[in-house]
């Protein structure tokens, strides 16, 4: 830990020198091992052997989520498949998943990056880390898990769900750090309060590392009041690693990028021009030492900015601001990334309903509830007993399989979904309104 601590306090010009070496290695490895990058660099006239400054990277073409999807499953691998120790996938199982692969080295630095979050929270051997992110292909659970193991803490891999058991474990095992989505943390707090507990007194939490969905400052303040702990935001995505790409420190003034593993640029999403520090734009990430799934200039679609200047904590790694939305239509539902196009693909397979449907996002307590309204078609025989329930059940099951999110399906009368200028407004997000 001593040696790695030095990395976090290294003068920034040394970090930049390290980043330049990482970029040089990554662009060459991509060019030589991944046909996609060879083609894309050649077409853009970008010579990967000519990089001699960080600015040179801006001549490289971008890579976006669709490119990764097109290369499913192993087209983007820069190492032989035999060297891959673990696979994760971003949500969406309709054949449009993006794959993240990890060599032993990749897993090691992922653990280190998330582990920093626990260290930022002052966590270590004396802590008990309760991880209620979902385990599995989603990077949340195992990313936090490896980070917790790395930090030396006692790890409880309880995964998501079964809130009453979460509460029992929080009390009985005295968990000190909670890792989950912010909305689930709030749900735990509210459930505990409803059970007659006082989360601030009856639990022993010191910190919560809450990511995978955006949350407001008010929401953070409410969480901190209820649990009497400190909330740290964590950022990451499967395409570049998983949670831990950037983590907040106790100053709560932006998320420190793990600059020894990632190079971040902010671009104007319309022109692709790199923007100076302080300006808001789209975050673009290049991995510096990821072996299995390196990315060069991955467009995250997340809107943030680089916070100018140094953090009061003294760490020299630059910070990104908390996210300000996205440049595309991706929804984050219960921490899971959902694209309206995934829903559309499912709905297209049902002849019984028209193409007019609407997704309504609300919150019950603090958890997201998804309701899909669809209009029944004229030739659907709804006179048969149970026909409507059965159709609702079938649509709901297909959506659950495709999105990994439970959806309540409601069939509605024709023309009851408003048409606006011929194009349906597919998503009504009411989640902010009752918070």
């Amino acid at each position: 830990m001593e040696e790695r601590d030095d990395v976090l306090h290294m003068p920034h010009d040394q970090i930049e020198a390290m980043q330049l070496e990482g970029i040089k290695k990554t662009v060459v490895a991509c060019y030589e091992n991944v046909p996609f990058y060879k083609k894309s660099f050649d077409e853009a006239g970008f010579d990967p052997y000519s990089v001699s400054s960080l600015e040179d990277l801006s001549r490289a073409p971008f890579v976006c989520k669709q490119d990764l999807r097109d290369e499913y499953p192993f087209g983007m691998l820069a190492v032989p498949r035999e060297d891959v120790r673990e696979i994760h996938m971003s949500s969406g199982t309709t054949g449009v998943a993006t794959v993240g692969a990890y060599t032993e080295h990749d897993l090691k630095f992922w653990a280190e990056c998330f582990g920093r979050g626990i260290a930022y929270a002052g966590g270590g051997r004396s802590d008990v880390v309760q991880i209620c992110y979902g385990y599995g292909l989603f990077t949340g659970g195992l990313g936090a898990h490896y980070g917790s193991l790395f930090s030396g803490a006692t790890t409880i891999p309880i995964s998501a769900g079964n809130t009453e058991r979460q509460i029992r474990v929080l009390r009985e095992m005295g968990s000190t750090i909670l890792c989950c989505t912010p909305s689930y943390a709030m749900h735990i707090a509210d459930t505990a309060i409803a059970m007659g507990l006082d989360p601030a007194r009856d639990f022993h939490l010191r910190a919560g590392i809450h990511g995978a969905e955006a949350f407001s400052d008010n929401f953070r303040a409410e969480l901190e009041r209820k649990f009497d702990y400190k909330v740290l935001d964590v950022y990451g995505l499967t395409e570049t690693m998983g949670p831990g790409v950037a983590v907040e420190c106790m100053e709560q003034d932006g998320l420190h990028i793990a600059e020894d593993h990632f190079y971040c640029e902010i671009i104007d999403p319309a022109t692709g021009e790199v923007l100076p520090d302080g300006e808001w734009g789209e975050l673009v990430i290049t991995t510096l030492d990821r072996e299995a799934s390196p990315v060069v200039r991955y467009r995250t679609r997340d809107i943030t900015r680089i916070i100018p200047g140094e953090c009061a904590c003294g760490r020299t790694h630059r910070r990104i601001d908390r996210l300000h939305g996205r440049t595309d239509d991706m929804l984050i539902i219960r921490g899971v990334n959902v694209f309206p196009s995934q829903i559309e693909q499912v709905m297209e397979t049902f002849d019984e309903v028209s193409s007019w449907y609407q997704i309504e996002l609300t919150t019950k307590g603090h958890l997201d509830v998804v309701t899909l309204k669809a209009e029944v078609n004229p030739d659907f025989d709804f006179d048969s007993t149970g026909a409507i329930e059965q159709l609702q059940g079938r649509i709901s099951a297909e959506l659950k399989a495709a999105l990994s999110v439970g959806v309540r399906v409601r069939l509605v009368e024709p023309m009851s979904i408003p048409r606006s200028e011929g194009k349906a407004k597919r998503v009504i997000d009411l989640r902010g309104e009752n918070q």
Binding site: D381, I388, R410, E413
Partner: protein
């Protein structure tokens, strides 16, 4: 067999009133109406003088409506009348999906049943009539 008009309605205030007004505007004469409801929606089943015309009129106004074939049975208006009829159907292995009472007057009652009559429809009808029940046509309602 007779024609039944089935309408899919949102379970919301005023929807049934609106439906009935729309039918009145189309000069449709209703003879019976029953509702299968859930918290979100209802399925309204109607016997009227001309289900096809009613359906077209409703479709024009944006309703989801359809015409379904159902069976109308004349049964004796006495305790056990319907029980006897259902017993006969059961013996013939004819399942009943749903049903409702259409009318009662004097010594006869009419019940509507959604039944899937087997292929040899005539024989089933013959057996039902042999047991003392009458299968009514649209005109006989």
């Amino acid at each position: 067999m007779v024609d039944q008009l089935t309408v899919f309605l949102e379970n919301a205030e005023g929807r049934l009133a609106k439906l009935c007004r729309s039918l009145a505007d189309a000069d449709v004469d209703m003879l019976a109406l029953t509702i299968a409801d859930t918290t979100d929606y209802g399925v309204v089943r109607i016997i009227c003088d001309d289900a096809t015309r009613a359906r077209d009129a409703l479709a024009e106004k944006g309703y989801r409506a359809m015409v379904t074939k159902v069976a109308a049975f004349e049964v004796p208006n006495r305790p056990g009348g319907l029980a006897d009829l259902l017993g006969v159907l059961d013996d013939l292995d004819i399942p009943v999906e749903y049903g409702y009472c259409f009318s009662t007057s004097g010594d006869r009652a009419v019940d509507i049943l959604k039944v899937k009559l087997p292929d040899e429809t005539t024989r089933a009808v013959e057996a039902i009539e042999a047991a003392g029940f009458k299968v009514l046509s649209q005109e006989e309602l």
